[in-house]
Symmetry: C2
Subunit: 664 residues, 2 copies
């Protein structure tokens, strides 16, 4: 029945002010109002419908995405949206599209790496979308290792041009979003060669397509790299392949903020500090952490609401079955994911402030915190995206069979999300970078160099190497100090252990190479500590609203203690806690899950997601799932006729024994 | 270049006889020859091509599947294939299709639950495919809990008919494969009601569609439930929805082997033991375990070969980069999955013999091992499918960005595989059943009842509760006795711990309910022990072939020790091993990975998969990956034109500033 709230009883049991929690989740009243307004504009516009995405073939899907992008551009102007509002609108349109790369990579690359003159020339064109740009770095044979790229940009002093060329098949640009079909321009990364010398990788602005008729320019081979994971999903994006056959561009299309080539072909470095590039990396990874909390919260919202709707077993007397949300195995898998969504939200918020801090320091030529900030964002990018990818799939499984239907929204959410584990730094490669930084930090402790920021706790090494956890009862595990100390001790002991084992190897590099599996685990321990710490710090802020703080406390404890249980081996093997204390963790977790249960639906309501954004029949706000599932089914193209296409050719002959030529 | 083996150098480093290992993997020379022959027949037939699956829209895909099924039926007769050969052929066609349910569920249901007379009537029709059947159990609102099904079959003594009816929306049949478009008949599960009394769930043969023109019969609403996870994947299957509006069927279409309704409407149970149904469950789950090893081996084959091809970092002097297979973090993630594929292969082989044993006992009215066999297969189904689903996704990640392309084959393999975690018993529900059996077994130890089969080790409880692991060096962990004892002690201690905690609860049921998260962990420990034990037993068999046994030993040790490391918390918290011994596990694992490295490619070659079956550009036998990726890209429909459809309507107006109505 329309208008009935089938989850009203769940909402009534909430022990906190949901509206106040919405503000906490959004970050501020302004953010909440802004998101809410933009989400509703998108949801109410039929051009932005999403429920047919998985039924469109590749060409229809892509065309539909072009349509949405053009319509959004029109609406942005009609409504005179600010840049902030336009960004939110694109976010709620929720469809991977070439515009993401134009605004998210092409424009920032010119801003960050172009001279003032270059910015003046190119940015107005990009802002007005008179050109559409993408970011062409990765190659068919080269991903994480940027220094391995093969594309060449050879300076020709005779004509004052660079010759961009793809010398091998593996040097083909491969993957850049927006490259395949939409972009007219690209920032292309290539080896700068002048006067016979290779100066390594630099960025160049290259026009790919005619602005008259969009056809590829001479010497340019460009296309789409083909179908990707899932139906719908990233197939709305024209990830592209690009090859250059001696394409000439003017010298001044080298992005020249950091280095230039003179008219004579001399390579000159500017005095702009290279560290500025790290600032961009910190920025991009910070947004990835923020996106992780959005994706995970969306998945948990779907799984939580449907778990309250779906009933199974439990009726001894023929009465209704129990909602699966009552089952401890369901809580045990789902509640830590809700807690993680909140944890990632807050650590993301903190990372935003870290980025501001780093930017201010860079402007003042203070690079002292840069390495730490870089390691911290790299680690958190890895930690949050890995957990979110796995968490979305876990939420799908928590929805039982129906989670496998496209109409549940979860298959597409998973398919769209998982590239985050690979792009902007492969998650394992990033953890090794963190580990390298940790081992270095440990080594420097003896030199008296004070560790900063998120590694400051390592300054307390003497205490942390030998402290004993004081927990005696399950309730002692509610003490944030006990939790934080346990995570600090575990992290520092694992790092020190790695450092010691490396020092036994014939060389530092060999030790690092052989122990990389252990190093990854030490890095994870460090990153989990950061998230736990930032969650605990968040609890110390004044969060207004009835019961809000109490709920956050429960979530924080679930987040930390679930990790403690999951990584119990780490804590025990380092002697951080005892087996008995480990058993008390399980006991406390059970009690925390019971506390969360009556608030579960309200806690995911606090994300304030529209049904349009959720895009899930199972996650509907009103819980009226089954009629919606049933209706959605009939929209499938296969149901256009009762008797399927192919019956006459391939089914009837079988049934009528016209296929059989011999007996079995 | 065609014909060049880019992995030849990897194959040369193998230290064992790959052909002999192929026999071990296949199970026998006969099996190897059969699989090899059928795989080649399928691979060489253009009708069975798979590389276009993800590019077809739903209707094209389904029609193509009907075509393949009809063609297979034709070939099966032309080649006069045996039933065994035909089954293998369908396996290598490797496309979910209505025939899977016809042969795998419809025919066995009639065989298992029909009387001799019913079999005589229906089986010949089914064998000749003059009717096509499916298995309609699950409903929109009811999955795991079969007793909750709502469809009714009410006996009408006036007409000697059952009236099949869907009383509610949630009672709609939902999910059955083959139901939506292909099946003419179904075995429908419904509540048998006669004389006003509900006798619970029974199976009925119901005709759904006209045999003349395939249109749905009166009172029947039938269709497809819509798009599912992934592109291609299970969308070739017409999982269906079915509603009955008082559909009448003759009384003798109740499957009557176990119970009958007389002409007068009296419900009568036959003297056939109900336990026979468990035999079927053991059979089905045994095949699921076998399928897990196939899916996981396929994913590891792709990831291993591509990890040997793909190079990244490591070149200090400008030389070629290192293959990623050399990296310890890659080995640490991939090698345990190769080991798991082998472990699941062998435990699956053993399960097959268990099924034979159970069948023989059932025929002799010996039910003494049935509960244990049932728990064992339930647990192994859960353990192997969960690990395989996660393992396929891990293999995808191990292929870096390119694993995200449909042409890598991994997205579709994942999408096709994951339902195995849900169907035939949700994996968590199954583990709880195992746990219930374990707790019961522990309780019976004091009564003197001897545990049988895979729980026999529990008879040794006194020793296992207090034994101390004797491992002193990393090499001591190569001792199978030390490994097995550690797994036994951990499993029994976790089970006993659960049993003790349950006994403290106000009631057994309450204790069971509250501790279900712990119970699941205890069940996992028990199931892992079974797999480890069967692998160790396999090593005691005579495996001919140079170096074969040594390789299996390495794989077995990797399988066991990786689990030990992953679940270190269990082993430490139960006091099974010490922290020091835990650290030695990591040390030994590093050494085992180095031993496996030169054999990695040969170990996945031993699966003997054709490139057609693998269906992956990255997993090509010859390793010539990049040209193939490049060629495949151009086949995408988006590349049919240089300028995309939609340019004129949606891109040109943006670029030409015809969209903007106002300035930003």
């Amino acid at each position: 029945m329309e208008g009935v709230d089938y989850l009203a009883h769940e909402r009534k049991t909430a022990q906190f002010d949901v509206e106040a929690m919405k503000v906490v989740w959004a970050g501020s009243k302004h953010e909440l109002e802004l998101s809410d307004r933009m989400a509703r504009i998108v949801a109410s516009d039929p051009v932005f419908r999403k429920d047919n995405r998985t039924m469109l073939d590749r060409k229809e899907l892509f065309k539909n995405t072009l349509k949405k992008a053009a319509h959004a551009w029109k609406r942005i102007h009609e409504l005179r949206l600010t840049e902030e509002e336009a960004g939110k609108m694109r976010f709620f349109i929720d469809e991977p599209a070439y515009v993401d790369l134009h605004w998210g990579m092409f424009v920032p690359a010119i801003k960050g790496q172009g001279t003032e003159e270059q910015q003046k020339k190119w940015l107005p064109l990009a802002y007005k979308m008179q050109i559409i740009g993408c970011y062409a770095q990765t190659e068919l044979g080269h991903g994480s290792n940027v220094q391995g790229l093969e594309t060449t940009a050879t300076f020709d002093p005779k004509t004052d041009e660079f010759i961009i060329h793809s010398p091998t098949l593996t040097s083909s640009k491969w993957w850049p979003g927006g490259l395949g079909k939409a972009s007219t321009h690209a920032v292309v990364y290539a080896r700068l060669i002048t006067d016979g010398k290779d100066y390594g990788i630099h960025g160049f602005i290259v026009q790919l397509r005619s602005l008259d008729d969009h056809s590829p320019l001479p010497g340019i081979t460009v296309g789409d790299i083909g179908n990707k994971f899932g139906s719908g999903a990233y197939n709305s994006m024209d990830n592209g392949v690009l090859r250059f056959d001696h394409v000439r561009i003017p010298r001044d299309q080298l992005l020249m903020r950091l280095s230039q080539v003179t008219r004579e072909g001399k390579y000159v470095q500017s005095d702009v500090p290279r560290q500025l590039l790290y600032g961009t990396m910190v920025y991009v990874r910070q947004t990835i952490v923020a996106d992780a909390s959005k994706a995970l919260s969306r998945a948990t919202c779907i799984a939580t609401r449907y778990s309250a709707v779906r009933r199974q077993f439990g009726a001894q007397d023929g009465g209704p079955e129990s909602p699966v949300l009552d089952y401890k195995t369901q809580q045990n898998r789902l509640f830590p994911l809700i807690a993680s969504a909140y944890a990632f939200r807050f650590v993301g918020e903190w990372l935003k402030s870290l980025y501001t801090d780093v930017t201010q320091r860079l402007q003042a030529n203070d690079f002292s915190t840069l390495a730490e900030a870089h390691a911290c964002t790299a680690g958190l990018k890895s930690l949050t995206t890995s957990l979110t990818a796995d968490g979305i799939e876990e939420c799908r499984k928590l929805c039982g069979g129906h989670g496998y239907l496209s109409s549940s929204g979860l298959p597409e959410l998973f398919a769209v999300y998982i590239p985050a584990c690979t792009y902007e730094g492969d998650n394992v490669v990033l953890l090794l970078q963190v580990a390298r930084f940790l081992v270095k930090t440990v080594a420097q402790l003896t030199t008296g160099k004070k560790p900063v920021g998120t590694t400051a706790y390592m300054g307390n090494i003497e205490h942390l190497m030998q402290c004993r956890c004081a927990v005696k009862t399950a309730d002692d595990w509610l003490n944030p100090y006990a939790i934080q100390e346990a995570f600090e001790a575990r992290a520092v002991r694992m790092a020190v252990n790695c450092a010691q084992n490396i020092s036994k190897a014939p060389s530092q590099e060999e030790g690092f190479f052989n122990l990389s599996a252990d190093l990854v685990e030490a890095a994870v321990a460090h990153c989990q500590l950061i998230v736990v710490t930032k969650f605990i710090e968040k609890l110390q802020q004044n969060n207004v609203g009835d019961g809000v703080k109490e709920q956050l406390q429960v979530l924080c404890n679930i987040y930390a203690l679930n990790l403690l249980h999951k990584h119990l081996g780490d804590f025990l093997v380092t002697g951080t806690i005892t087996p008995k204390q480990g058993a008390l963790v399980s006991e406390q977790l059970r009690s925390l899950y019971s506390k969360l249960r009556p608030n579960a639906v309200a806690l995911v309501d606090a994300f304030n997601y529209t049904d349009h954004y959720l895009g899930s029949v199972l996650g509907r706000y009103d819980g009226n799932v089954y009629p919606a599932l049933y209706e959605q089914a009939w929209k499938d193209p296969l149901n256009e006729s009762d008797v399927p296409e192919g019956y006459a050719e391939y089914l009837r002959p079988v049934l009528k024994q016209q296929v059989r030529l011999a007996r079995l």
